[in-house]
């Protein structure tokens, strides 16, 4: 009877000893994780409380899920939920492949200087804040004196009110999003491309493969893991649309489609504090996000691709 636990203990110790360096490496990261990420986690309790500033999180009374009841009872919540999901799914479908395509194209450029220059120019908009980029976009898209509408008219089209209509809101958001972030997004794929063993290409050349075949059979499989990982992470972020961009392009004429969780939470804050309520809205969003990421990961696993864990 007693020999089994002892043996188990021994094997456990042996295992630990064998991998001691690996576990030692884990320690700083774990310490960081616990101290900076998990210890403050008690703040989530606020979502279930009537927060009292004097008493703090530990002294505030719990309110029997009042915040969540309020949330699910409000008509606005469902509009906001639908707007958020529609926008972010559309954004994901349209935006996600673009950095991959751009990275593949850059990878095929053989003139070193041209390659570097295009890539450098592409990442510049990432450094311009939404306020400024949005201002520039507004100038371009304006019905009055915007360049884009001037071109449309010149080509014989009719002016389009990009900014002041609910029909065009999502289009504007997605296009400006690609403008700002697609070039920056290529970086991660370029680094994955850089890791592909060049000998594969040599071997393929010897075998007489053309460039399309090389892209299809060497390049794409070489970055497939990165693509899957990035996709899973982005699906996990489906509930987030980012505040700044949306807020900037939101106005009375498109508010019926432009009100998303981020702008709604902001409005709540203005109408009056409601700290606990905002926390509850955030918590709801994050629970959905977690479910999304874990289920996507399971699907990716079933399909035999790369996974998060």
């Amino acid at each position: 009877m007693s020999s089994i636990p002892v043996r188990r203990k021994q094997s456990w110790l042996t295992y630990l000893n064998k991998n001691k360096y690996l576990y030692l490496m884990c320690l700083p990261g774990l310490a960081f994780l616990i101290i900076f990420k998990y210890i403050p986690m008690y703040g989530i309790l606020m979502a279930f409380q009537d927060f009292n500033f004097k008493k703090g999180i530990f002294g505030s009374p719990f309110n029997d899920f009042k915040n969540f009841k309020q949330l699910f009872d409000s008509a606005k919540f469902y509009t906001v939920f639908a707007n958020s999901i529609v926008l972010s799914v559309m954004r994901l479908v349209v935006t996600f492949p673009i950095p991959i395509i751009l990275a593949l194209l850059i990878n095929e450029i053989r003139n070193k200087a041209y390659k570097r220059t295009t890539q450098t120019l592409m990442y510049l908009p990432h450094f311009i804040s939404w306020v400024v980029l949005g201002g520039i976009a507004t100038n371009f898209l304006s019905v009055g004196d915007g360049l884009i509408n001037a071109i449309i008219v010149k080509l014989g089209g009719e002016k389009i009110n990009f900014l002041g209509s609910s029909e065009w809101f999502r289009f504007v958001i997605i296009v400006t999003n690609i403008w700002k972030e697609a070039g920056w997004g290529t970086i991660i794929y370029l680094s994955a491309l850089a890791a592909i063993n060049p000998e594969y290409y040599e071997a393929a050349t010897v075998d007489g493969a053309n460039r399309w075949q090389k892209i299809a059979h060497i390049t794409l499989p070489g970055i497939a893991n990165t693509i899957v990982i990035t996709l899973v992470l982005q699906v996990g972020g489906l509930m987030n649309n980012g505040f700044e961009q949306i807020y900037l392009f939101q106005n009375d004429l498109n508010v019926s489609v432009s009100e998303v969780f981020e702008t709604y939470t902001y409005r709540i804050g203005i109408v009056g504090g409601r700290y606990s309520y905002s926390t509850a809205v955030g918590l709801f969003k994050n629970v959905i996000g977690t479910i999304l990421i874990f289920s996507t990961n399971t699907i990716a696993k079933k399909l035999g691709g790369a996974t998060l864990y």
Binding site: D73, L163, L253, V255
Partner: protein, 509 residues
């Protein structure tokens, strides 16, 4: 080598010892901590004005000035931190303020609001102004003191050179206004041969309910009952629909900027500076005439521009504009309920309501931030260097109280006699044509906040804004908006009106 080293060491020792000795000599002077909302250019460290302020009060003031862009984030953290400064700029008289006071963060000032502790605020603040900081849902006491502005005469500024070029008078009624705006948009007032001007731009950044426009229609705030004592929400008053009709007409004729709904805060000012607009309504900036006239962009873009102030719009056939004003409060100051320095903190607030401190924080120290202060015109002359210093050391944001009723305005931006004369003329003209009707906002009455929350949660407020703007732009018919206002809006706000009625709110006015 060793000698040099020893010498350096000795000098360092003396240098470190010196401040210690002086500190010891000064003795018992305590330090009060304060949270203040200050602009980016303001320098807190080694600020001669803050030092002079400390000398005047008899204790040091250590100011924490969070980023003005994110003041609320930092303030909220401080409120939750359990370590509050002695004096706080709260910057809120709404639900946050009520919650913090209810949670016991702020000192109840009512027991001290008397001639013994706070004689200056008692003398200066009116009951209406104090009502903005009373917490009705708690005990009706005051938990902070308001920073007040006594004479915010809203007005409308016009390009005089444009009016003259088209042979037009300064408009007084809505009809005249629309006529002038249309002429500015269509008759090439700047004479450059191009169709590049509009009459004006309606900014929605603060909603379209501008007092100096509403006065032309007789729209009442929701808090004010009619002569029969009946409360009607502003949006449900027939006069409000007349106002929207007027806007819609101007939009249709092209008198106003067609993309007004995209205008962000102060962007309309820019179009005015650029010479694209001939009319600018001024809600707040009592010194607007000087500010605009001296603006470099404005001067560069419109070298021959002249400005003229117009009064708020008045109803047809009346000789004065009736403008509804609630007490004009720009933030408020509270004392930490657990402060160690109660006497000093009360003294601090008390002194904040004197001319002496007010002028010190607005104009600074003679020789450093200005050359001479003219007590009669309430303005100061500055050299170029002093102007740069003034940017760093003084700001109206730093004041505890902003204006004193009986003293007129402090003209912080006017540097020349010409500026002061221009301002004074405009100020008096607008004042003569304005009848100020005082009323109290009802936002802090118990129960109001819950109704507002419900309206937001149902999305009724955003729907209203959407329909209203679409109506102005001519995208929907009148019936659609009217039916929404009658069937959805009116029932949603009825509880608010009931609360006003139950409290007989503004009934005497």
């Amino acid at each position: 080598m060793k000698k040099t080293f020893a010498l350096v060491l000795a000098v360092m020792l003396v240098l470190t010892a010196l401040p210690m000795m002086t500190a010891g000599a000064e003795g018992e002077r305590v330090t009060l901590t304060m949270l203040q909302r200050l602009p980016a250019a303001y320098v807190v460290e080694d600020n001669p004005v803050i030092e002079a302020w400390g000398d005047l009060l008899g204790f040091d003031i250590e100011i924490e000035a969070p980023p003005i862009s994110s003041f609320n984030d930092r303030r909220n953290i401080i409120m939750a931190s359990g370590e509050l400064p002695d004096i706080m700029y709260v910057g809120d008289t709404g639900t946050n303020y009520v919650q913090w006071a209810t949670d016991g963060l702020f000192l109840n000032l009512t027991p001290y609001f008397n001639d013994e502790y706070l004689p200056n605020p008692v003398r200066v603040l009116t009951e209406d102004e104090l009502s903005t900081v009373r917490i009705a849902s708690l005990d009706g006491d005051i938990y902070s003191l308001p920073r007040v502005q006594t004479k915010p005469w809203d007005n409308i500024m016009y390009r005089k050179d444009w009016l003259d070029a088209l042979n037009l008078e300064v408009p007084k009624t809505p009809a005249e206004f629309a006529q002038v705006a249309l002429a500015f948009a269509t008759q090439d007032p700047d004479g450059n041969g191009e169709n590049d001007t509009y009459g004006w731009a309606l900014s929605l950044a603060m909603g379209p309910e501008h007092r100096q426009m509403l006065s032309g229609f007789g729209v009442r705030p929701s808090e004010v009952p009619d002569e029969n004592g009946v409360y009607t929400h502003m949006y449900n008053q027939p006069a409000y629909m007349e106002y929207l009709d007027w806007l819609r007409d101007m939009y249709a004729t092209g008198a106003m900027d067609p993309e007004f709904y995209l205008i962000t805060m102060y962007e309309d000012d820019d179009w005015f500076y650029a010479g694209e607009l001939g009319i600018k309504y001024c809600n707040t900036v009592t010194e607007h005439m000087i500010t605009v006239k001296n603006n470099e962009t404005f001067k560069a873009a419109n070298p021959n521009a002249q400005l003229v102030a117009g009064a708020p719009l008045m109803k047809e056939g009346e000789s004065v504009a009736n403008v509804y004003y609630n007490p004009q409060v720009w933030g408020n100051y509270a004392i930490n309920a657990d402060t160690e320095y109660l006497t000093e903190a009360l003294h601090f607030l008390n002194m904040g309501y004197t001319d002496e401190v007010n002028e010190l924080l607005m104009f600074g120290v003679e020789g450093i931030t200005y050359t001479e202060f003219n007590a009669e015109t309430r303005s100061a002359t500055k050299t170029e260097e002093q102007k740069l210093n003034a940017d760093k050391y003084v700001a109206s944001y730093a004041t505890i109280n902003y204006q004193l009723e009986d003293k007129g305005l402090l003209i912080a931006n006017g540097d020349t006699a010409e500026d002061v004369a221009l301002f004074t003329e405009a100020y008096n003209y607008v004042g003569a044509l304005t009848n100020r009707v005082s009323y109290l906002s009802g936002g802090s009455l118990p129960g109001i906040s819950d109704v507002n929350v419900a309206i937001t949660d149902e999305g009724i407020d955003t729907t209203f804004e959407e329909l209203r703007t679409k109506y102005i732009c001519g995208q929907i018919e009148r019936e659609e908006l009217v039916s929404f206002l009658e069937n959805t809006w009116a029932p949603a706000v009825q509880p608010i009106l009931d609360i006003y009625a139950a409290n007989n709110w503004n009934a005497a006015k």
